[in-house]
């Protein structure tokens, strides 16, 4: 797509002041399958679409628990997510050990932001190729942060990353005003609806490909997979993709390389 003299390493600025290697790292996230996060006044929810490389293969884990009050959803290079989430677990343990308190979400997010930024300023290093949605609850309430390989972190009320995530973002932008007071159930259903909009044509949400995590003020972080997701899909009702089935009302078409089920290397999910 780009390809120019200034894109060889992350220590080179282009004449317009861009760092292409960092921008390319952001592309890696778009290759991964979608993950959605949203927050209410009492809960934070992460929902992700899992992918498998082949029909008989297992589905890539998309949500990682960090502590009893904190977890992340990933899109992009899963091994990079592992490195970052291990680091977050260390930060979390350290906070409990040293200060006897669960690490405030913003603090651990800032720690990985600074870690990632170093990789964008030194020769020989590459930026992390994964985007994270960090959801957690601390003394100031539930929070959702989006982490990017550039080291940019922003706090959102609702966010989506990964393939075809723009459709989910559109849904979230239309509905975010009702998230604050939503009940636990309403919040999860909003998330599932947003995720559904990222499905490719003729695909649907199933217990095999949906991963869900909920954390709340009085609820420890818990990951739901497989059969535990069934009750939520039942509440959702329609699990089918809306792509290609209607005209202009359908989610915007996804021109980017649709999820290559078999031919991408070890790029995540």
């Amino acid at each position: 797509m780009f390809r120019n003299n200034y894109d060889n390493d992350s220590v080179t600025f282009s004449p317009q002041g861009r760092i292409f290697q960092v921008e390319y790292a952001l592309e890696a996230i778009k290759q991964g399958s979608a993950a959605v996060g949203l927050v209410s006044n009492t809960h934070a929810v992460l929902i992700a679409l899992k992918r498998n490389a082949e029909e008989l293969g297992s589905y890539q884990k998309k949500i990682i628990g960090i502590d009893t009050h904190l977890g992340v959803a990933l899109a992009g290079l899963a091994p990079d997510a592992r490195v970052l989430s291990n680091f977050m677990r260390q930060q979390s343990m350290s906070s409990r050990f040293l200060y006897n308190r669960p690490v405030p979400v913003a603090r651990v997010v800032n720690a990985i932001a600074d870690k990632a930024q170093v990789n964008t300023q030194h020769y020989g290093r590459r930026p992390y190729g994964v985007g994270l949605l960090v959801a957690g609850v601390d003394e100031t309430g539930p929070h959702l942060w989006e982490f990017q390989p550039s080291g940019m972190v922003l706090e959102y009320r609702g966010a989506a990353i990964g393939a075809r995530s723009q459709s989910a973002k559109t849904y979230l932008e239309r509905n975010y005003e009702s998230f604050g007071d939503a009940t636990r159930e309403e919040l999860v259903l909003h998330g599932l609806t947003a995720l559904r909009d990222t499905l490719a044509q003729d695909k649907e949400l199933t217990t095999a490909n949906v991963s869900l995590a909920i954390v709340g003020k009085d609820e420890k972080f818990k990951l739901y997979d497989g059969d535990e997701v069934a009750e939520w899909l039942e509440k959702l009702g329609n699990t089918q993709s809306s792509r290609g089935s209607r005209g202009a009302a359908a989610a915007p078409p996804a021109p980017e390389a649709a999820a290559p089920a078999g031919d991408s290397m070890d790029v995540d999910a």
């Binding site: 282009s14 002041g17 800032n110 300023q121 020989g124 975010y176």
Partner: protein, 272 residues
């Protein structure tokens, strides 16, 4: 618009035949693309303000702060690549902490600005790193000497200012700042001017239909010139880098609209 360096611009630390380090100049481009940041050194304190462009409605308002506190008495507002800004602030905090260990007191702003200028400059010396893509405005209150304001550029150049502006709206902001008699206005007046200047700088560059959030902080001198010390030995309210209270910011924005537009019905301007 930009003269391509023809081979001398691919690596940091490399001089072109006319003595330029192109990577540093390109880093400055990154700053020019960022939201406007300004600083005002008034007679009894310092005001910092940032135009935070709202990229998405989903962002939590009031979060994602752009102006950071260093130690208790210094604020840093950056324009440019935000991750680089975080790195920069992190280093400033370490410098302030190490000063405390060595000299048992808060770091003077001039010393901090000098150290940060040196730090930024070292990133222009080696091809294994790249320059910081931020210009930082450092403002605070010294125990002796009063308020002070500095600006550090990607090259490491550091000057002291009465009024400083950087980011996309800096031309318009500088023009407005030059009209003010900064050494003789109070911090409260400074806050009103800052809100107005950000409004003008935003309008000129980003078009009036993109929302922004105004973030403002100040460090104020106590009225009798002495810091107000709280029971725990810290300097309270006065002398501390703090966010300008919400109601004052809102009032300043309203007044800014009136001053700029004439009345506030006309355009749909940003609300914070």
């Amino acid at each position: 618009m930009t003269s391509i360096g023809t081979g001398y611009d691919l690596s940091n630390s490399v001089f072109s035949p006319d003595g330029r380090n192109f990577q540093v100049e390109y880093a400055t481009k990154a700053v020019e693309n960022g939201g406007t940041a300004i600083g005002l050194r008034c007679k009894d304190g310092v005001v910092l303000a940032v135009e935070k462009l709202i990229q998405s409605k989903l962002l939590v308002p009031g979060s994602n702060k752009r102006i950071a506190t260093v130690d208790r008495h210094v604020g840093i507002a950056c324009a440019g690549l935000i991750p680089d800004a975080r790195h920069f602030v992190s280093r400033a905090r370490n410098e302030a902490s190490s000063w405390r260990k060595g000299y048992y007191g808060p770091i003077p702003i001039s010393s901090l600005a000098d150290r940060m200028g040196q730090y930024a400059q070292t990133y222009t010396l080696f091809s294994s790193v790249r320059p910081f893509g931020v210009t930082s405005i450092i403002g605070g209150l010294d125990e002796e000497g009063g308020p002070s304001l500095w600006m550090v550029e990607p090259s490491g150049v550091t000057w002291g200012y009465f009024g400083a502006a950087t980011g996309r709206g800096r031309q318009a902001a500088k023009a407005e700042l030059e009209k003010l008699d900064l050494p003789n206005i109070t911090v409260e007046e400074g806050v009103k001017h800052a809100a107005r200047i950000i409004l003008i700088a935003h309008g000129d560059n980003s078009g009036k239909d993109k929302d922004y959030e105004l973030e403002m902080t100040w460090v104020r001198m106590p009225p009798n010139g002495e810091a107000e010390i709280a029971a725990d030995g810290t300097v309270r309210g006065y002398g501390r880098h703090e966010e300008v209270p919400k109601d004052i910011v809102e009032q300043a924005e309203k007044d800014a609209k009136k001053a700029v537009e004439g009345d506030d019905d006309d355009e749909k301007m940003a609300e914070s």
